[in-house]
Symmetry: D4
Subunit: 147 residues, 8 copies
């Protein structure tokens, strides 16, 4: 059994790295996918198509260029991990969770206890809620290796 | 032509009321649907199924009971209006937008200019972005009455 | 808002009657649907197509004739209530729950506490778990009438 | 031609082992998949996400963690074998059968004659009913090797 | 409960008439739909689009014009009755049965015993096999009126 | 039997009017739907959302506002009539035809003989090709009234 | 580019062999799939599950066991070739064509001119009609190798 | 990450070649697919099935034979590039864009500024608009290689 795991959300802490390294340490057969996490590159993704003077359209073009990747990867993943950090709005993470919910793709939310209440709808459709990458690693390990 | 319009997001201002009254003033053939917007009732939606001592599970049960309504209504709407206010995280609004995107249901975002950047992915999949309920009314009026 | 509610499972107690009467008392806009609950008629549903000497085929023909009704009604309901009683296997109720889960149709399980463990997979995909018809009535009332 | 075959249901007898060994003896090109069949591990699947004092929620969390695996595997199998033993309720097996039926995935039921009647709806949607693993092996062999 | 029932196949006997009259006699809430059964009109359905000198293309155009009706009606029916008579190939009836099977729409075959063997694949995917319109009436009556 | 018929394409001749009047003269039970055919209004559909200095974005916003209507109507029609005139590119008509083809919605093309060759892919997926509105009326009349 | 091609229908002439050999001679990258074409084995496919005294049920069981293979293969093919010979009813071939039509899978019919009229509905939904295996080979060669 | 990219539209300039060579120069993991671009071969694709005296039917047969390839490839691509040149109608390109839109497959349009207005509906559903193959290469490179 193999899994393709999409990593969505927060880009300011090292949770993706910890998750990947932990899974590698257990030799889990997982392909990790993700949006582009280089913030500046992501914001400039559409610039090659022509400079925009209105910031809304610059954002719009870049968001769509990034969606080529995210849409393709989300639609082909087996499970998504959706991370909400302490800072920033991270509406794109909640958007990805809703997208997964509509597709019937299971997702695990990863966030601290202090934001349980505002995330209750997102957690309500999740297959699990974790507070640390290590918990997610354990779940993936269980899913892939237990018989 | 009739439209069923789902209203998602912020519950602390009167945008739903303005939108409905404006459409009524034009005699537009619209059925408006929405999640329960009574905040306390929504938080307590699952209490009838038994009291929970752990707040996560109280939220979880209520979120799922509310989802009976929201899931049914979102899946049967023709278009959604997704409102992001100045306060609060409103991850459920972004979740609804992602849900619509995956279903292929068009949605209009309704928010101020100052949150264009964090909402760029949500706007990127939207059919339109408006800043006032009156603009949304105009679009619905155009859609329903122009020949 | 209207709801079509499919009632699945146990036929030996009066839970269907209590549920319908309770919803009527609140004037809820609900259409209730169900499999044929007359046990003998249900077992004999296929007999009109010719008598079978092997009981497996008699059951098979009747099960399929009954499926014309159940399949049509389950696929068109907004929500299902799946009841597990104290007696009998009620595999058909679990089958209906799985069918709903695959379709993405929300369902509420209705059963006592003493069978929580063997029903954990069925409950795990349910939108809610209730122990009395009165709780289900409250949830339907909340879903249909709260604004 | 290859087949991915999901094995659902009873975990207290050696039917999975007999089925796999029989197919291997015929060199059939089959990938067998299954839920975790270690009963204690399965019940504890969610414990890594935090200890629950209420047994319902412990079961709930574990059922969902297990569903990451079962949902992914059922949705990607070509055919399922659903086994009902003499003991226990095995509602999860009937749930899996209903899930397959809604997806249009063929499944073979595997059970003794004495439970034909309570399983008539589950058998009614099945592609075949077998009483021994050896019969299932023959069917898989026929499907894969006959020209 | 209402049903929309599509009548497919043989046009040379009065089975459609008997079926409709029998259902009317029981006041069953059924909408019957069907392909055009006027043979000459059906063959000429495409002639209005221009005369064809090659008979293949005349048939082709008419078959497609007829498909506007049959495709729309088959896709919106709840159940189909597929009749195979003693004469003619009636490949269109088998085609409709296959179409229903792929859509997951239940269908009842209606034919005599002497063609069981050549129809075994068509019957194998059917929800029931009847030999007389009266049997079909009984099944529809049971489905619609039994509680 | 009723039909919902979407009228796509050319807005510079009176084919929509002739088609509607012809169907009304035969009392056909048809609901006609269409994009907004007022050219200036259509081009300005997005202006209410704010003036754009770059013409690409003005067109973009208006095209999306118009898509609220066209997407909703195309997805709910039973059949589309796609008209290609002598002038203009009418790429939107070909776009609508491709959209219908992917949905499996039948469409009739309506165009003169001199553009058969460049339209061969669009005609190849069509259910019929007509050269006059009167032919389309005949086909709709046949579909709706012949028994 | 690779293609998976399902071969349906007549089993009494060598068209499958000619088709495969012709494609091999051109080194076309095709995987051919098919139902079991050994007539006696196909009729006996269900016998391993227990002997039936009623021929209808013997046929029924065998048809379903065969459907494990045919359903899986038809749903995964890129294109089907559906052959109608001079003899026999071959309703299963027409059934397969209808199944493909509903799935949107293109199919080529292969039959002589003298049965054009009774096959007009089957041909009407086909992507092409051929009279010889050699024509089919040419089409597959064109599809796979032309740039 | 790999991508399958379908190239649709104009066949009279070297944009396909520039696009492929540019992607190869960056070692991008892309499989390019396309309709047959040999104009004469494409027009004659159906001739092997018999000569037609009426040009409409010759075009019709060839269009359908070509659709075996294009339909299969469009439905399996991750993204399409749809090119509109200065000359010709290129309705097939707009048709492909509509087909992608209905499937939810992202596509990039590639055309000059002077046809922005007639292409506004096609651009309105596109994920991006480019004017040169080099821009498309940059977007594909970003999508595939940025982390």
């Amino acid at each position: 059994m193999n899994l393709t795991v999409y990593l969505s959300g927060e880009i300011h802490t090292d949770w993706r790295k910890r998750l990947k390294e932990g899974c590698e340490a257990h030799n889990l057969s997982i392909t990790f996918t993700s949006a582009v996490t280089d913030h500046d590159a992501s914001d400039a993704a559409g610039d090659v198509l022509g400079v925009e003077s209105v910031s809304y359209w610059r954002d719009h073009k870049s968001a769509k260029v990034n969606a080529i990747r995210t849409k393709t990867l989300i639609e082909s993943c087996d499970i998504a991990i959706v991370r909400f950090g302490d800072k920033y709005k991270q509406w794109n993470a909640a958007f990805d969770a809703g997208y997964c919910a509509a597709l019937g793709t299971p997702y695990i939310t990863l966030h601290n206890e202090d934001i349980i209440h505002p995330l209750k709808e997102v957690d309500g459709s999740a297959i699990a809620w974790a507070t640390t990458p290590e918990q997610v690693i354990e779940i993936l390990k269980y899913t892939l290796t237990k018989e």
